[in-house]
């Protein structure tokens, strides 16, 4: 893989994805080979939105590679509150760091930012747009648990605003995957994403309930339905309740089903599911470190040494 920036999973070929996943597997098996590889490198973290897993796993990944991070901190404590544009902020931090990780509430922020910088830029989420590094760890987890070809996956929850969903769906078009999208009408996939998936010739189906499709699934990828997407509490409670997973709702599932979730969850997966063979979401979160180590190694450009 040779890309200056990682903005969207759309830009990646199957070979690119497999390069990242293979390298992540190598690192996962033996971290010592890359332990001090980037001892003189700094990764700049620019998170304009709150983040726990993504930010900490990037920080962990860079430190496990021997490097260090500089962190813009919260938006409240930065010059953004003085009205500085993203374009200015990113050009300043570029001068301090060897690569940048950007999360921003606006769609297209990473695309725009990439036009202003020369160091590698990684999109860690741009509004309802893309989240390609989450997709890499999702694919890694799917490959470990179910395999990426001849895959039947159900993606459920907030498909409209869920950037992890959009990125994953794009990436899966590079594999032999049947994608089932399960959501209330009001949170169905944006037409832009459906358009792109059709353009890629993807096999997709949309459903408003899990029941009819659950028995056929190898993987069920659950996302959080957020309260703020609904005009009133009653409507939210009614809709969210229909897309919650508990031991009872899994009675028709295959024994080999893998349940994933990008986390954080609220109540869309009952805690009782955590101890079943289905649950892979904590493993999925842990995979963020080797996968982001692999990505940083490839983007920082020393992987061919």
């Amino acid at each position: 893989m040779r890309h200056d920036h990682l903005i969207t999973s759309k830009q990646l070929s199957r070979a690119d994805i497999e390069t990242v996943l293979d390298h992540a597997a190598e690192i996962d098996a033996d971290r010592s080979a890359v332990a001090d590889k980037y001892s003189d490198r700094l990764l700049g973290l620019l998170f304009f939105e709150p983040s726990t897993r993504t930010k900490l796993s990037f920080e962990t990944a860079m430190k496990r590679l021997g490097g260090d991070v500089i962190d813009m901190g919260s938006v409240d404590s930065s010059s953004v509150t003085k009205g500085e544009s993203l374009a200015d902020t990113i050009r300043v931090i570029e001068g301090y760091a060897d690569a940048l990780v950007l999360r921003h509430p606006k769609q297209g922020a990473a695309t725009m930012a990439s036009e202003f910088v020369d160091v590698p830029l990684v999109n860690a989420g741009d509004g309802a747009g893309h989240h390609p590094t989450q997709t890499m760890l999702d694919l890694y987890t799917i490959r470990e648990n179910a395999g990426l070809d001849d895959l039947t996956i159900g993606i459920m929850g907030d498909l409209k605003y869920g950037r992890t969903v959009h990125s994953l769906a794009y990436a899966l078009t590079k594999f032999d995957a049947q994608q089932h999208f399960i959501s209330p009408d009001s949170l169905a996939l944006p037409r832009e994403v459906v358009y792109d998936l059709h353009q890629e010739g993807a096999s997709i189906r949309e459903h408003d309930g899990l029941e009819e499709v659950l028995p056929s699934l190898d993987v069920l990828y659950v996302t959080r339905i957020q309260r703020e997407r609904f005009p009133d509490e009653n409507e939210y409670q009614k809709v969210a309740g229909e897309y919650q997973i508990g031991p009872d709702s899994l009675s028709s599932a295959s024994d080999d089903l893998t349940i994933m979730h990008p986390l954080p969850r609220v109540d869309e997966i009952a805690p009782e599911v955590d101890d079943t063979e289905y649950a892979a979401y904590f493993e999925q979160a842990h995979n963020g470190v080797p996968v982001r180590m692999a990505l940083l190694d490839l983007l920082l450009g020393d992987s061919d040494d």
Binding site: G83, S85, L86, A87, H104, P105, K106, Q107, G108, A109, T111, M112, E115, D126, G127, A128, G129, R191, E192, Y195
Partner: protein
């Protein structure tokens, strides 16, 4: 017919579009009188019915500079049931302006007129990308903030798509025009 209209040769109107069967000549005389022939300037023909004012808005032509503008709306046409036609004196469209026209008048014909003769005639070709012409109306798009970025839209077959937030706009493209 007024004296001015006679002088300007309104009855030869169809020459400007280059089609004798599309607007006026040989059909009803009342069609011929609607828009006078121009001396120097541009005739934008075969604009989809109802889009003439949007075309002028896109081009930033509002008559404030004293230019002579003639507009025909819902004029009978052979190619469409009805079409709009615009004539602007002393103004020749640039290629950039023609590119933008493709978004709202994809079937338009541009005629550059000098000394009452059509010297250049072209159908508009849709560009792959238009920059700095439209504004994204997705409030969640980075281009809607105070960033030093020029808007960019990919032109699809029947829509435009913001190159930043990737929103597809199909129905109301004229509303995006950055006026």
């Amino acid at each position: 017919m007024t004296n001015d209209e006679r002088k300007n040769g309104a009855h030869h109107d169809s020459n400007e579009s280059g089609e004798t069967d599309d607007y006026g000549t040989g059909h009803a005389h009342d069609h011929e009188l609607r828009v006078s022939k121009i001396h120097n300037g541009t005739v934008i023909d075969h604009v989809r019915s109802g889009q003439a004012l949007n075309v002028l808005a896109v081009l930033g032509i509002d008559g404030s500079e004293g230019e002579e503008i003639s507009i025909g709306m819902n004029v009978p046409s052979d190619r469409f049931a009805r079409k709009d036609i615009i004539k602007v004196e002393d103004r020749e469209l640039s290629q950039d302006e023609v590119d933008v026209l493709t978004l709202i008048a994809p079937d338009a014909t541009i005629n550059i007129v000098r000394e009452y003769e059509v010297v250049e005639k072209s159908r508009v070709d849709r560009p792959d990308v238009v920059e700095g012409v439209l504004s994204c109306s997705n409030s969640g798009c980075i281009t809607t903030g105070d960033e030093p970025v020029t808007s960019k839209f990919d032109v699809l077959e029947d829509a435009v798509r913001c190159a930043y937030c990737e929103t597809i706009f199909r129905e109301d493209i004229p509303a995006l025009i950055d006026t």
